[in-house]
Symmetry: C2
Subunit: 376 residues, 2 copies
């Protein structure tokens, strides 16, 4: 929570649930990444929050952009980024989108299999490709599935295929898992990347770049390490595995860049008990899983929730959203302590919601409008 | 799949993933509910699919509407429904929305606790309220959480509170769980409802209506009973529990009304393996959890997927969506058999997708547009 957000909410009093993003926090965060890893280029993961003012600020600061689709590429360009500062980082692309990106001037593409390499060779001839490898995501609060990346043992064949088809086999990427609180987590993946660099060199192909992905955390209820600690740990892991032949490196922070810059203002719609015997109250908010808080799925992310009565005694509550969908429950397996004095109509502030909220909103579920956002 | 949908897709060849809804199927389904339960009013659950043409058709056929929000109420009115044919069926309502509904002329409201009763007494004086009770949802493919409804033992106090505050304590509602394949599942909840009717009569208050909710299934991969079988079973359960003092009854089909009327056309974007040792292919479509298939959450609903190569040998696949989100995987725990000959660029047809797809789409996640829909 920042003074600017508090002041905005106090003076503007926006109607309905909304996200407020403080650009000062985004700027400070970008600068802390730049300071912590001065030799690493930052590719902001646009999907985390593609608000035009966020993208413009980052473009002005010198950020590059990791884009998942043609619309995201167009947003990055509209914000002032040049095509050489954009990576088409989705490993799953329609060939007509590859062609469109190439036409726009994009030259850096992610792949994780030979079929994707072939699309790029046909529709973006000569482009640079990096191969994403699987990483176990140990220690991440939200380990990734096997959806993206191939077994590291398969990567040399994918990259050599690219080389033979006239593409520039440019490097390797990985992702250590979302909300990664262990600053050492990059070590194992960097070891795999270095091993692929050596294997490719033996095949006569010189890789140049390691894309170390995202995973940098937002502070929710638990403390997380500072960006500087990640920088130190990652820098020493790169030196350890690559020696004095340091590759170009890039990172793709999304959550770590904007998560902490946003606060959602919501309202208590109802407080009830299901039975006279129940101890736990049900607290229903005007925002839920389908209104922007999709990342409460499986109660994965536990957002800090502030009320004006936090000095009062607290007791456990189930927290749910406003839709007629029974899965629209935010916290139930582990109830959430809220003040006993909390009342219908009270405002609540949900911190750490700058990333993965607005764009996850359902377009019209139950007739509710998508989450509004104010970038200040 | 209907001939009209096939013909539409063949001649119109819409670009990108889309839902096509056949109104003939919706009409036939409405008529089968009306035939199966001639003394029961149908309140279509608008949230299942609020497409204007669907609502207009149902309004013309004489349907009433179960609405979750003011925008849904406005859509039902725009489709030609009069306010007396609309229920504000969400148990979680802002008081200003209750006031707005009352101003529009809505007179029927759901409640499940005294606090909600008080909002309605203040902002919709004299309205009819029905109290939702918890039901165990046994046998449902997707049992509901405890989010909606109160313990049946608590319902008389809630309804008496309504009566004392000048509202019309009108009845009881329940929901036996989504995709309920057991036609007998209504029996236990009807027994609870009848018991509440008796308890209220002892308190001098005559309830009039039982809202038997939704739960009527769509045919996905497994067979489901016909609507007529539900009608017979429910009608005999009502007679068993209410004897010759039959209450007014309503049902709220949503999925059961429109699920089977829709087919999503999608495209295979990528097919790959994660390792040379893997047997399972990963098949990536241009639609996933955030593009309309939210109900694949926990692999709850297993949609029939048709390809043009279904005569060929099939082997197990993981099926995933196109976004850079690792949870955007549709079927992995139980892989899905698809033809070995399936190729990138192939069209696939996903059946049973008329309900809970378009409105669940993320507004812009990864820059992808929400699911388009054509109602024919």
């Amino acid at each position: 929570m920042t003074a600017r957000i508090r002041e905005f909410l106090r003076t503007r009093r926006p109607e309905g649930p909304c996200l407020v993003v403080d650009l000062d926090v985004v700027r400070e965060k970008y600068l802390s990444f730049a300071r912590a890893m001065p030799d690493t280029r930052v590719f902001y993961a646009v999907k985390a929050n593609p608000a035009p003012d966020v993208l413009s600020l980052l473009a002005d600061l010198g950020s590059c952009f990791d884009c998942a689709s043609i619309p995201e590429i167009e947003m990055a360009l509209a914000a002032g980024a040049t095509p050489d500062r954009i990576s088409f980082g989705n490993t799953i692309k329609k060939e007509r989108d590859v062609a469109r990106a190439h036409q726009i001037g994009i030259r850096l593409f992610a792949v994780d299999c030979e079929a994707e390499v072939e699309k790029i060779a046909r529709s973006a001839p000569g482009a640079r490709v990096f191969c994403r490898i699987l990483s176990d995501g140990a220690d991440a609060e939200w380990p990734l599935s096997r959806k993206f990346g191939c077994d590291p043992e398969m990567a040399p064949a994918v990259l050599e295929h690219a080389h033979r088809l006239g593409l520039e086999a440019y490097g390797v990427s990985f992702h250590v898992g979302s909300q990664q609180r262990n600053t050492e987590a990059w070590d194992g993946a960097l070891a795999s990347a270095a091993s692929i660099f050596r294997e490719m060199a033996e095949r006569g192909i010189t890789l140049k770049m390691v894309n170390m992905g995202g995973g940098f955390p937002t502070k929710y209820l638990r403390q997380v390490p500072e960006v500087g600690a990640y920088g130190q740990s990652i820098t020493s892991a790169i030196r350890k595995h690559f020696g004095n032949r340091l590759p170009e490196t890039i990172i793709e922070p999304g959550r770590g860049m904007v998560g902490g810059a946003g606060v959602i203002k919501a309202e208590v719609v109802l407080i009830s008990k299901k039975s006279v015997k129940d101890d736990v109250r049900w607290v229903y908010l005007d925002i839920g899983k389908f209104g922007g808080l999709a990342e409460t799925m499986d109660e994965a992310i536990r957002y800090p929730i502030l009320t004006e009565r936090d000095a009062d005694e607290k007791t456990p509550c189930v927290i749910a959203g406003p839709t007629c969908d029974s899965v629209d429950v935010l916290y139930e397996k582990t109830p959430y302590d809220l003040p006993v004095s909390l009342a219908i109509g009270d405002e609540v502030l949900i911190e750490g919601t700058g990333a993965y909220t607005t764009t996850y909103s359902a377009v019209a579920f139950n007739g509710f409008a998508p989450l509004k956002a104010y970038v200040i």
